[in-house]
Subunit: 248 residues, 2 copies
Amino acid sequence: MDSTDSRKKIEVCFSPYLFPLFKDEFEIIVVIDVLRATSAICAAFHNGVEGLIPVSTIEEAKEYQEKGYLVGAERQGKIVEGFDFGNSPYSYLKPELKGQTVVLSTTNGTKSINIAKDAGQVVIGSLSNLDVLCAWLEKQNKNILCLCSGWQNKFNLEDTICAGAISDHLLSSGKFRSEEDSSIAAKYLFLSAKDNILGYLKASSHRRRLKNLNLNEDIKYCLTPNQAPVIPILNGDCLELVKEDVLL
Amino acid sequence: MDSTDSRKKIEVCFSPYLFPLFKDEFEIIVVIDVLRATSAICAAFHNGVEGLIPVSTIEEAKEYQEKGYLVGAERQGKIVEGFDFGNSPYSYLKPELKGQTVVLSTTNGTKSINIAKDAGQVVIGSLSNLDVLCAWLEKQNKNILCLCSGWQNKFNLEDTICAGAISDHLLSSGKFRSEEDSSIAAKYLFLSAKDNILGYLKASSHRRRLKNLNLNEDIKYCLTPNQAPVIPILNGDCLELVKEDVLL
């Protein structure tokens, strides 16, 4: 790569476990947890939720519950007993959530948000908000990292394909460059998958795990692009919609 | 995956940094560093080297040098000053190495060997010994992990494609199963790359790095399958050829 290359970087980190190798170089961190946290977060904002507070632990979730918040908590794909909902996008489409600030703790996604927030501006990425997010990122002129939430610190395909889609868009714009092989691989995987994401992911371990939990409707929602064209962004401890009008 | 499935596992770990997430489940660990350590190791054994001692640090390498060994040491793609050679496969094809035991320390590959050796039987993998290695692994009836050496703890494409080739072979045999998305992704990347590995990797960061060092001949050697059909295996601190005749 030419050292005089002034284009900004778009790179992909495959899991939170690898984040320490990347964290100091990026101004924007797109946190991705396609199945299902970041898809659910986009669904919530698209449904009119006012704010969403991501917390890492069940203890923090309980504290918010005691304060009167509506709180979602998911572990291993299931709603944690005693909480209002888990991370199914459909839980967030209920009319009574409009205008509310809700709280969410999930196995992988909210942990990623919380490790990323000290390193750069956190933005929520999913297939649900793919096109609007890409259009917004392209205008930022910042170094961007896609942080895949993975599954228990390991690589997963659905987050990587989403990151590959974002990388492909930004690289095609000519305004960004990639130096990491992880970014190149994510792009290759997206290009192989893009015409049939659901079919491509049929071998995916995480999708198999959710299918065993009878969550096929959730999977279809999460893997269908552009159902919730919103850009949730972290402000302090709370996600809210980006103010700027980017719906081109 | 059916819990009664008795097939052995073949999985892929993208970098030594992720190895703690995998290390307790595998009896055989295939260490892969295509550019260039494991390709050079296969070249050495194919040229008649008797044994090869992989060491992690330059200090250890110097100690062996003081004892009279021929010692190779590479860092950042270059031969370390004061050593006999680096990790170019061509360094290991010299007639004077026949029958010798040599020592090697490299940026990524020998470190992988040394972190893997307490977890399982270490076997050397590269594109150079792909077919003979796959045939041997298929007969072992053991859980197998492909450990990609990566680049400075990060994912790289060439090691992943090699791991994907091994996974594809073993899964196709029907005797093995994969549960990790990393293994599925490695297989997908290999299947996309296999008809033109050199072309596929033209975007790879590590290949670009070596090209800048004028190592095109090395790259061609390392990316051309089955040039050194040998199976180096770790015995104590020294790599030696597997005894069994596996050249089917």
